[in-house]
Subunit: 226 residues, 2 copies
DNA sequence: TTGACAACATACCCGGTAGTATGTACCCAT
DNA sequence: ATGGGTACATACTACCGGGTATGTTGTCAA
């Protein structure tokens, strides 16, 4: 590897690190106060910096929000996508998906709150067409994610283990439960893994049971990869 | 009734009507754009009026938001409270509660969206202590509402028809499902009662099944009072 | 008829914030 | 050493929107 390439690599790294720090700070600000109530100065202040630093990497506040949203969705798609692609028992698969989803919710909380804000479109309406375009892309990702669950649910319905009428409604109900902890969960000082595990266990059960056609106790020990 | 009292009554009525119109306009604005992105001018413009009219009835934007929120919660508490107080089969009772709740969600959509905004506390953090106080009151109402469901759920657990570990988690899961349509439902021109009924039926089933210990088909014809 | 009050509209102030223009220190290849 | 680019900080502008102060019009009671 040439010195030039090496240098280029290092610079690229710096940009990524610079972006990543801003991204994280922005995610926490947006989580705490929402998009509109967060100023660029707030984000910069959290890094002990000034606006200049933020605007060096992002052209606008909306761009920053989009990137935070996108990062959150990438985390989710990256973990659930591979699982949804697997073959096998739909119950076991949905179980893994639920647990992984909940794991992500609890461990990248700030990003996930921003994702929810985007879904509720608290910024839609008064935005430029350019921003509209990007927002539509984010919504596509969101829909794609929901389709992963829908697909698995329909598989299970065909094999008789799941029961529901409208697949869209079913996936929305499942995700409503799985997303719920994002609203009220907050990181504590004495972050107990046990506490998080209890949330994952119980909400996975709620989510699966609401579409299950039988009360066979869902195999709760079948998944340990989270 | 004296002429004076009559006049007083009429004036009181006018105040109520005046407030009600502003309240409705505000609910729709908040629903569409969120608290921060909504200006008082927006609310006034929706009525074909100006700021003066709004500030004649409300002292601040926060006050207006609180009133919208409170109105939404009163609708909910007023319908679910009496049902929760009834004795009898917890399954049938929860069924009625779910259906009534969903009915309210679909029929006072704008107010319910504002309630959700309050819950997510997009305004918390950068508010005055005075506002904090009022916000706390709203949260109390919200918690009281959740307790209606929790109480019924625990009743059912004692009689063996419901099954869950943590009552708080269970009520949150149930309400997560019941509140979900608020996010994506939108009034159409050809508002079909059938469409709304399908939502009520299916989401009630999801909500109840996620805490039910048996798969006895939930008596779907047992409730017709909605 | 008149005065008092309600129900607004108009005009204005002012703080906060998105975005920009510019400066500066530092690194690095040549 | 030097010129150029990166990674910021500083200083400034422009505007939006919450809140207020002040008019204007109609209504009703005395």
């Amino acid at each position: 590897m040439s010195a030039l390439a090496d240098s280029a690599m290092r610079q690229l790294d710096d940009i990524d690190v610079g972006k990543a720090l801003i991204l994280e700070a922005a995610a926490e600000c947006f989580m705490e106060a929402g998009f509109n109530a967060t100023s660029i100065d707030d984000v910069a202040a959290r890094l002990g910096a000034t606006k200049g630093r933020v605007y060096h990497y992002y052209r606008s506040k909306a761009d920053l929000f989009f990137d935070v949203h996108r990062t959150g969705m990438q985390i989710n798609l990256g973990t659930i996508g591979p699982i949804a692609g697997q073959h096998g028992d739909p119950v076991a698969k949905l179980n893994r998906m639920c647990r992984s989803h909940l794991y992500n919710m609890l461990h990248s909380l700030s990003f996930q709150r921003v994702v929810m804000q985007g879904v509720e479109m608290h910024m839609a309406g008064r935005t430029t067409p350019k921003e509209r375009e990007k927002l539509a892309l984010l919504m596509d990702e969101r829909e794609q994610y929901e389709l992963f669950f829908q697909k698995t649910l329909v598989e299970g319905r065909q094999s008789g283990v799941f029961r529901f009428e409208n697949p869209s409604f079913a996936s929305k109900a499942v995700l409503a439960i799985l997303n719920n902890p994002v609203i009220w969960y907050q990181k504590r000082k004495g972050e107990s893994d046990a506490g998080r595990l209890a949330i994952i266990d119980q909400f996975t059960r709620f989510a699966m049971q609401c579409v299950c056609s039988s009360t066979d106790p869902i195999n709760e020990t079948g998944v340990s990869d989270v």
